[in-house]
């Protein structure tokens, strides 16, 4: 019987025969429902493209992003050898955008690692333990939430010193409180559910309950929230770059590129517009992906 089954049938079965089979089947069914969302697929493709471009930057970039050519500065779009033109120092904008993808991915990946994990930790502990722990942790969260994100990040960078790592740190420090709030709210509903009571009746301690039973349920809504927030994070990084507090010249960070192009925006609009378009596209892709993921991962919807 196993031979006559196609892979698709094997994956769509309602009667999985092993742990691995069950996992794969669950993932495949999630993928199917994700795939049926066209907009999310567009977002996913854009991001896959971004990752490929970032990895293959040295292979596909037509020029060295740092080599200046002052004789050829501010060349317009479509110039021979410079499809997207050159900036004020004669550097090829397309190459800089391609290398800039690496920086953008680097920022996104780091923030996506730090902020939600910190938020998850604070939120689930506050929600599950309750009492004084909850009060203290949530008031700290409130203090962070009370500041506008960019202003707080500015203060951090000013204190820590300008630079890409510090920018990431600053963004992460300002990004975790909303995650903590979400995680806490989810924990409060999960905490009182019967399946948590049931595992308590097996003598499970708080550590096991939080990590093995509450986290898996919080993580999906956090992933959705993170992808939706990614646009904001990219913009915050670009904003810091624009203000000269993020990536430092000559690094081809997209925000910093806009900042440089700002001086010529009236006569040479492409210098600032091209990195702006890149930021816009990637932000949009993350938003589309987030919407699609919400349909797949949100346990409240569907079923």
């Amino acid at each position: 019987m196993a031979e006559t089954q196609t892979l698709r049938q094997w994956l769509l079965t309602d009667t999985p025969s092993s742990r691995r089979h069950a996992k794969l089947s669950a993932i495949y069914q999630g993928w199917l429902s994700f795939r049926s969302n066209t907009m999310a697929m567009i977002g996913l493709w854009i991001l896959i493209l971004l990752v490929l471009v970032a990895f293959a930057a040295p292979l596909i970039a037509p020029h060295d992003p740092f080599v200046q050519s002052l004789g050829n500065r501010l060349a317009p779009l479509g110039t021979e050898g410079h499809v997207l033109g050159t900036d004020s120092l004669g550097r090829d904008i397309l190459s800089r955008l391609i290398y800039g993808a690496r920086i953008t991915l680097y920022i996104v990946a780091l923030v996506a690692l730090i902020a939600p994990v910190a938020g998850l930790l604070v939120g689930t502990v506050a929600g599950y333990v309750g009492g004084w722990t909850d009060t203290v942790l949530m008031r700290i969260t409130d203090i962070f939430l009370a500041f506008p994100r960019l202003v707080l990040a500015l203060a951090f960078v000013a204190a820590l010193g300008a630079g890409i790592e510090n920018a990431v740190l600053a963004i992460s420090l300002t990004a975790w409180p909303p995650y903590a709030r979400i995680a806490r709210a989810e924990t409060l509903t999960i905490r009182s559910s019967d399946y948590i009571s049931a595992i308590k009746l097996q003598g499970a301690g708080p550590l096991r309950i939080i990590t093995k039973h509450i986290w898996p349920l919080c993580i999906s809504s956090l992933i959705v929230r993170v992808t939706l927030d990614m646009a904001g994070i990219i913009l915050a990084a670009a904003g810091l770059g624009f203000l000269g507090l993020g990536a430092q010249p000559p690094s081809p960070e997209w925000g910093a590129m806009i900042s440089e192009g700002r001086r010529f925006i009236l006569d040479h609009w492409w210098v600032a517009t091209m990195p702006g378009l890149a930021i816009f596209t990637v932000s949009l892709a993350f938003n589309l992906l987030g919407d699609g993921l919400r349909d797949v991962l949100d346990p409240k919807a569907g079923e």
Binding site: T15, A22, D194, I199, G203, A204
Partner: protein, 257 residues
């Protein structure tokens, strides 16, 4: 096949509840859910708690398991008096089956994970063999082992919940309306399973229900609860013979016929 235990009062008590009070909230917000409840359940006996919603019947179960932490009075399980902390060893004696099988299984854990983790927590080493055995015992079998709750029907979920409760090999099983969320035909299957398990494993049941006919079918004796108090304890035979003495028990009996 062991016959159904008869209604004689056994000598050894599995559970003794003495003047139990349970409340929620503090000071002005305090709500007394159970007031001065006393009853005993003998070893191997099946005892029912009957009452309408808000009568405090489920709260007694939650107090025994430690899920309702605010209580006073005496509770003795298998000869051991309970204090306010429950050790893991306690849960090897007492287990509970919850009312709603749709809410009592973790939505992201497969049957295998649920049973495996329970067995692991209780320190069993031959987990694989035991999971297989448990699934057979509750009439599910191998093919359900790796399914997730959303791939199971209500009755199948409740069987998994029963398997989880049986995993630590407890002596006292607390049943909180185990069939009220199920269809009647499924209810019959689950009740039969519970009757069989009790006979084959010599379990003691404390069963909460709002349905007198279910308690009548499952139990030897029952207590009728109203507004947090036990108004009457009687044998099921007396119930069948319509020999309830308290007016409220009579009222319930009439309403459920």
């Amino acid at each position: 096949m062991v016959g159904r235990p008869k209604c004689e009062r056994p000598v050894v008590n599995m559970l003794e509840i003495d003047n139990l009070n349970v409340w929620f909230g503090k000071h002005r917000d305090r709500v007394d859910a159970v007031k001065g409840a006393s009853f005993t359940v003998g070893q191997g006996e099946s005892f029912g708690l009957v009452g309408e919603s808000g009568s405090g019947k489920s709260t007694i179960l939650r107090a025994i398991t430690g899920l309702a932490p605010l209580w006073s009075g005496g509770m003795i399980v298998d000869g051991q008096p309970l204090d306010h902390r429950r050790k893991r060893a306690f849960f090897k004696t007492v287990q509970m089956v919850f009312q709603d099988p749709y809410a009592s299984l973790h939505p992201r854990h497969s049957v295998d994970q649920v049973l495996g983790e329970t067995l692991h927590l209780h320190g069993f080493s031959d987990i694989d063999a035991r999971v297989v055995k448990l699934l057979d015992d509750v009439g599910l079998g191998q093919k359900f082992r790796f399914r997730y709750p959303h791939q199971l029907s209500g009755g199948q979920r409740q069987r998994v919940a029963i398997a989880r409760a049986l995993a630590p090999e407890p002596h006292l099983l607390l049943l909180d309306e185990p069939t009220s969320a199920l269809d009647v035909s499924v209810q019959a299957e689950i009740l039969n399973l519970l009757v069989d398990l009790r006979a084959s494993r010599g379990l003691t049941y404390l069963m909460v229900s709002h349905d007198l006919s279910v308690v009548g079918h499952m139990c030897d004796r029952l207590a009728v609860m109203k507004d947090g108090e036990i108004v009457e304890v009687l044998a099921v035979d007396a119930l069948r013979a319509m020999k309830a003495s308290h007016p409220y028990s009579k009222h319930l009996l009439e309403a459920s016929l």
